[in-house]
């Protein structure tokens, strides 16, 4: 099984510069620096690398939208997104802790590609350990002379999920309330402090050294037609062996489940959330879905950031939806009315259903409230608020009807 990012994770001292270098580290950066900016971007485009922070946007294509120096003279920035707060996702945490230099090297490659001289790594507030590890690694990289062309700084989040969304993250970095901006303009044009900024996920940038060393074609070949390379799943829930697993893009859901030891206790599968709690679930009949951005999309949900949550037959869809909506209501930044009010309303209706106080009109009502949110908000969190309950309602109507009849 091809592994790229986690290949050397058995090395106990991989987080140290010496070990990292011994295993080929920083050769990707060297290669990139020997190439023109344009060629680096071309190579990444060829690789079919897509953003692993959730949106699956082609990485090379994103950089291309950074305006050239003549059109926008002045600084440009790289921000590595390590805010990882999507329930079910914990792969960035592991990638940073085990291979911090892979992240730093990747960030420096982005910096070269977009001609930035300042890079930031934005670390989720709760990731104290990861912050410390990165701090040490940056110090090492600095003394080894890697940060001469482009400096690197760490910043910490203050505990808001929404700060992981690129435009909210930039607001946070500017010291403001984490309220998403409404593109356009996109961060690559107007980003940090109004300057062009490439925001990329930890996993995405970690791929870059390998693409540089082995070439875009090599990477593209590993993956699925339009999703190159591998994907690192965080697997949790009702499985025998939860943890972080790397697979080539396009791997079958069935295989991934098997690798994680199958459904816990041999029980029957209820559903699998493929990308993190914000993504609608897959069910038994989807076991042969190809897990890459387009394959999962065709099955009506999203690969997201690969936060896979497995739920067995004992799970109640109403409780699952309530749990997720409660999270979203808690994390809604509160900027848009439909998301702010609709998330709390949805949570309360679901809570009432769970308390055995449901009524038959609750079901059409949550359906309708959901429709009034999705597509009528600024960011994807709000869209999700409206989608999640409707998705579970559509897939598991019996669970909901049982609750609604209770009242």
């Amino acid at each position: 099984m091809t592994k790229i990012l986690t290949k050397h994770f058995d090395e106990p001292k991989l987080h140290e510069l010496e070990t990292y270098r011994r295993l080929g580290g920083y050769q990707g950066l060297e290669k990139a620096l020997s190439m023109s900016r344009k060629d680096v971007t071309e190579e990444v485009k060829k690789s079919n690398l897509r953003g692993l922070g959730g949106a699956g946007f082609p990485t090379g294509g994103k950089w291309e939208t950074v305006p050239p120096e003549e059109k926008s003279p002045g600084p440009r920035y790289v921000v590595v997104n390590c805010d990882e707060s999507e329930p079910g996702c914990f792969k960035d945490r592991v990638l940073v802790a085990r291979a911090p230099h892979q992240v730093i090297e990747g960030a420096l490659i982005v910096a070269h590609a977009i001609d930035a001289h300042d890079a930031f790594i934005f670390v989720r507030g709760e990731y104290q350990n990861q912050y410390d590890i990165l701090e040490d690694a940056i110090r090492e990289a600095e003394s080894a002379g890697y940060l001469k062309r482009c400096g690197m700084k760490l910043m910490r989040g203050a505990g808001a999920y929404i700060s992981g969304l690129d435009t909210a993250l930039l607001e946070t970095m500017e010291g403001k309330k984490a309220w998403p901006r409404q593109p356009p303009p996109f961060p690559t044009v107007v980003g940090l402090m109004g300057r062009p900024t490439a925001v990329n996920n930890v996993e995405t940038v970690s791929m870059l050294p390998h693409i540089m060393v082995n070439g875009g074609d090599w990477f593209a070949k590993i993956g699925a037609p339009k999703s190159g390379g591998t994907v690192v799943f965080s697997i949790s829930g009702h499985v025998e062996k939860p943890g972080v697993y790397e697979f080539p893009m396009g791997v079958k859901l069935r295989e991934v489940l098997a690798a994680a030891g199958g459904v816990k206790g041999g029980r029957k599968l209820k559903c699998v959330i493929p990308g993190g709690a914000s993504m609608p679930p897959l069910v038994e009949k989807d076991l042969d879905v190809a897990l890459d951005f387009d394959g999962v999309r065709a099955a009506g949900t999203f690969l997201g950031a690969g936060g896979m949550i497995v739920l067995d037959e004992t799970a109640d869809a109403v409780a699952v939806a309530h749990n997720i909506e409660r999270f979203l209501a808690h994390e809604s930044c509160g900027q848009c009315t439909p998301c702010r009010e609709g998330s709390a309303w949805t949570e309360r209706i679901l809570g009432r259903l769970l308390d055995g106080k449901g009524t038959p009109d609750d079901l059409p009502n949550i359906q309708r409230v959901g429709e009034n949110i999705t597509g009528k908000v600024i960011c994807a969190l709000g869209d999700t608020v409206g989608v999640i309950t409707r998705a579970y309602l559509a897939k598991f109507p019996e669970d909901f009807k049982k609750r609604a009849a209770n009242g």
């Binding site: 309330k177 009315t337 009010e341 908000v377």
Partner: protein
Amino acid sequence: MGKLVKYRLNGREVEAEEGRLVIDAAKDAGVEIAHYCYHPALGNPGNCRLCVVEVAGAPKPMPSCRLPVKEGLDVRTDTDAVKRAQAGVLELHLVNHPLDCPVCDQSGECGLQDYYMKVGRYPSRAREDKEHKGKRIEAGPHVMLDQERCILCTRCTRFVDQVTKTHELGIFSRGHQERVEVAPGMTLDNAYSGNVVDICPVGALTDRDFRYKVRVWYLDHADSICPGCSRGCGISVHTSTKRPWHNEGRRVARLKPRWSEVNGHWMCDDGRYGFANLDTDRLGKVLRLRPERVELSWVDMAEELAGRLDGVKVVASGMLSNEDWAAFKALFVDTLTVQDLYFSAEPDQIGAEDDLLRKKEKVPNLKGAEALGLKSGSFDRLAEDLEAGKVRCLYVIERDLAKVWGEARARALLTQVPLLVFQGPNKGALGDLAHYRLPATAYVEEEGCFTNFEGNRRPYRKALEPIGCARPDWEIFKLLQEARS
């Protein structure tokens, strides 16, 4: 003005400036699009999601406050999809709203009421408990905050961030617990705080001065000009006369800014709240007070007084309108050949200035006098002359000399004058000293025109009937002049 392009609005071909926001362009074309957060002077955060329109080729309704006009754009504001989207969003605006309209001052001019009637009218489906927040927060000396009624449109916070740059208000917490709050250690006491009440589309920010005085549907409105300083901001005078027992018996209920090139959307608090003298301390009778108190008709007064004005010295103020100044000049300068005019702004009429609106001369129309070539003498000289007993007749128009010289000194100086005439809307501290006291209309009781510091003509309309037999200053000057000829 940018390039004009053609686009379609509800099937009609319309011309608009390229790049103009559809919400504004539609308004220009007579189509009002419901909205809360957008404000032409405060930007378009796009958070209320109410102003959606259907755009040909777009998969979902789009907020018109973020949609620039371009050639060939095809916009509809009247489709079922738009109506459904607006009703759905409105329901979400209202799901946690306390619905306390019967005790809310905004009732009758509330964006939630208005849009519910226009695009809402759905049956209530909210069964859950509502979110509870602060109901009676004194945000500052003029403004009361009710967090439960707030729809978090951020207009008020954008105002204190972008316009006054004083940052007293912020959005605290997040999600459904989010609320507008006064920043710790601050109060909303900037010189323009009252504007947040005007821009708040709901009853979350109300005016402490106006609260519970009168229901807005009993008010009448007249376009006017604030006389509070030489800026000459456009205002609307809101009066309550239909039910005289409301508003504590006063006729003027509140002043609101009225958009004009001069002031944009705003006015300052000094101007907004400085109207108490329109309903208190007013003069309504033509009186001769000395040797004994006699009520006169205007004609009798003029016959009596006109012949006694030779050698008069005249005190006036920039409160006079252009029409007043013209008649003033005709009477005092052209007919009576008076040299000694005193009307400059002294410390009594000088105050704070800033780079937003407020000007330091706290009267509206010194420019009107200047335009006629009138020159003011020095009040110090006048005081010396009064002290030396050189003033046989003093005519004081719309000026409280107690505020120029201090009450005790002014009283001492004026008591010696053989003939003292007071003319104005208010009695003032020294009104009892006059031999003749002539009631003039306040600016809200007449129409006229000021000339502001930049030389802009600022016409104002009549909002109220005069008190008693009060007349505009210019009419009084004319009466006296006619009586002399």
